[in-house]
């Protein structure tokens, strides 16, 4: 079966972003970028399913400007078969992304649609569920284990306080949690080989998706800092400080 993996290019998770002086947006000029970590889990899962002989072709897709080709090359180097960049200079929110991906799904007809559970820049965590809704397909979010037999996927999901197991009929949308797998490292020869794999640029306009821009970011700000604390010299001093706060410890 064909698997479509939708990925996003985000600021590297180790980097603490700064707010621009005018508060208009975050300053990400020259900052290290990469594949959103959860999306990397989604790519890895597709590859493992291909190694098991369940998935036959993996298509990686992202949306944005030409700079996004680097994460598609990364996906190809990991093991995706071909890649697609839906080209636009627009900033899309989750609903817009889901509408674009719906058009891609209709074109590609994948049996399995994989995404990360959340992008670590906007922390919205909506795209997979929205895509499933627009396609009227089943959804299984926060997957920590995926087992596919025939036309059915059994998915263990991470929920508050434990796990839930769902059986969804394919095609379905599944979003990856971190514990789904450990993404493989990309070796240099794989990067070289990835350059020979097909990467198609598709202008967003050619997909005839009607997009609205109903969400505006008015401003951004750094959160208030916690007031500086104090260092205590030992456990006894710590205890006396804590006892001074009413009702915290008995």
């Amino acid at each position: 079966m064909k698997a479509l993996v939708a990925i996003k290019r985000v600021v590297d998770y180790n980097i603490q972003v700064r707010v621009k002086a005018d508060g208009s947006n975050v300053d990400i000029d020259g900052v290290k970028m990469g594949v959103n970590p959860f999306d990397e889990n989604a790519i890895e899962e597709a590859i493992r399913l291909k190694e098991k002989g369940i998935v036959t072709e993996i298509v990686a897709v992202t949306i944005g400007g030409a700079a996004n080709q680097d994460i598609l090359r990364h996906a190809l180097a990991m093991g995706a078969d071909r890649a697609m960049l839906i080209e636009t200079s627009d900033t899309l929110h989750s609903l817009g992304v889901a509408k674009v991906l719906k058009a891609v799904v209709e074109r590609e007809q994948p049996k399995l649609i994989l995404l990360g559970k959340q992008a670590i820049d906007d922390d919205a965590g909506q795209t997979g569920q929205m895509l499933a809704a627009l396609l009227k397909l089943p959804q299984a979010t926060y997957a920590s284990q995926i087992t596919i037999e025939g036309d059915q996927a059994t998915v263990v999901r991470e929920i508050d306080g434990g796990t839930e197991t769902l059986a969804v009929s394919l095609p379905a949308v599944i979003t990856a949690d971190l514990r789904l797998n450990e993404p493989r490292y990309v070796k240099l020869p794989n990067l070289m080989m990835a350059r020979k794999k097909p990467l198609e640029n598709v202008p967003l306009d050619s997909l005839n998706v009607s997009l609205t821009h109903n969400v505006q970011q008015l401003k951004v700000a750094a959160p208030p800092e916690r007031p500086a604390g104090i260092m205590v010299k030992d456990v006894n001093e710590l205890l006396s400080k804590l006892r001074a706060h009413e009702g915290i410890i008995a």
Binding site: L95, Q139, T141, E158, L166, V215, V235, L238
Partner: protein, 309 residues
């Protein structure tokens, strides 16, 4: 127009975050209804009806709602939405699974994990693991959002709202609940606990994690949390993970033991009222957000603290 709250519950009890969502919902100054979708909804409906600020409780009763899927819940919520300008829930694994599906079916955007409601369509929410606060405005006709429960006080009880039964469409065929496994614990739930004791990678092993963290948590009647590093290393189960990729907590007291305080962990605990950090590394990031820092060997300091309590 009206505001609709989607209530989370475990079949018997409303999640305590529902009362917080009710407080958040008052910001629109219009009647607030609560949807209870359950197999046996009567006791749950009574709990919701008792919350002050609730105008009416809508009850969707169906055997399939013993373990509802997002698909079924969305099919119940979407037809109701014509009567509502706001659909909201407290942010959790439950609501963030369901509400994006609802929003997309309504062809509107959604705002996740809102920290502050500025006005009827403007919100403050965290981006980049809470390192940046974004003020966002939505011009959609229906505002669909989840709110961070810890930012809103719980609504008081003592009211008696009207309870109405609504019709329930058949459960969609494509997905089926199979099983669930909850980590059984005598301790309070991580998101509701007044005190949280969290362990990090410096514990070094699952045994050490249990032997050092659990006795302190017992003494303090605390929930146990863990950093992502500790979870990844297998010292603690994933549902104890505090942070951007785990749960967000805001207890009265948060004790971070052997946790470096990476950005993604801080995201999950920096709204705690009092933060204590115990770490051998004086340069650890966690000391920058701790009210009380103790540079010490955790294997000595934590048992000492436990014994002294």
């Amino acid at each position: 127009m009206r505001t609709l709250i989607i209530a989370e519950h475990n079949g018997q009890h409303l999640n305590e975050q529902v009362a917080r969502a009710v407080t958040a919902a008052q910001q629109w100054q219009q009647p607030v209804d609560v949807l209870i979708a359950a197999a046996q909804p009567d006791a749950l409906a009574a709990q919701a009806a008792a919350l002050q600020g609730v105008s009416s409780v809508l009850v969707a009763s169906d055997a399939a709602l013993q373990h509802p899927t997002a698909e079924h819940l969305a099919d119940i919520i979407v037809p109701l939405a014509a009567n509502y300008t706001v659909v909201l829930a407290a942010h959790s694994a439950f609501s963030k699974n369901v509400l994006p599906r609802v929003a997309a079916l309504l062809d509107v955007n959604m705002l996740s994990d809102v920290l502050e409601i500025v006005n009827a369509n403007t919100y403050v929410r965290g981006i980049y693991a809470g390192n940046v606060l974004a003020t966002v405005q939505s011009s959609d006709a229906t505002q669909v959002l989840t709110v961070r429960g810890s930012k809103f006080a719980a609504a008081a009880v003592g009211a008696t709202a009207e309870v109405k039964t609504i019709s329930v469409p058949a459960a969609p065929q494509g997905s089926r609940w199979v099983a669930e496994a909850f980590n059984k614990s005598e301790r309070p739930a991580l998101t509701a606990a007044k005190v949280v004791v969290s362990g990090g990678r410096a514990l070094g092993s699952a045994d050490a994690f249990a032997q050092v963290i659990a006795p302190l948590a017992d003494k303090l009647h605390a929930a146990i949390g863990a950093s992502r590093a500790a979870v990844d290393a297998g010292y603690a189960p994933n549902d104890l993970q505090v942070g951007q990729t785990g749960v967000v907590v805001a207890p009265e007291l948060y004790i971070a033991v052997g946790i470096s305080g990476a950005i993604q962990h801080a995201y999950g605990m920096k709204d705690s009222k009092v933060v204590v950090a115990i770490n051998q590394d004086p340069e650890a990031q966690i000391f920058k957000i701790a009210d009380y820092g103790l540079v010490a060997d955790l294997f000595e300091a934590v048992p000492q603290l436990t014994a002294a309590l």
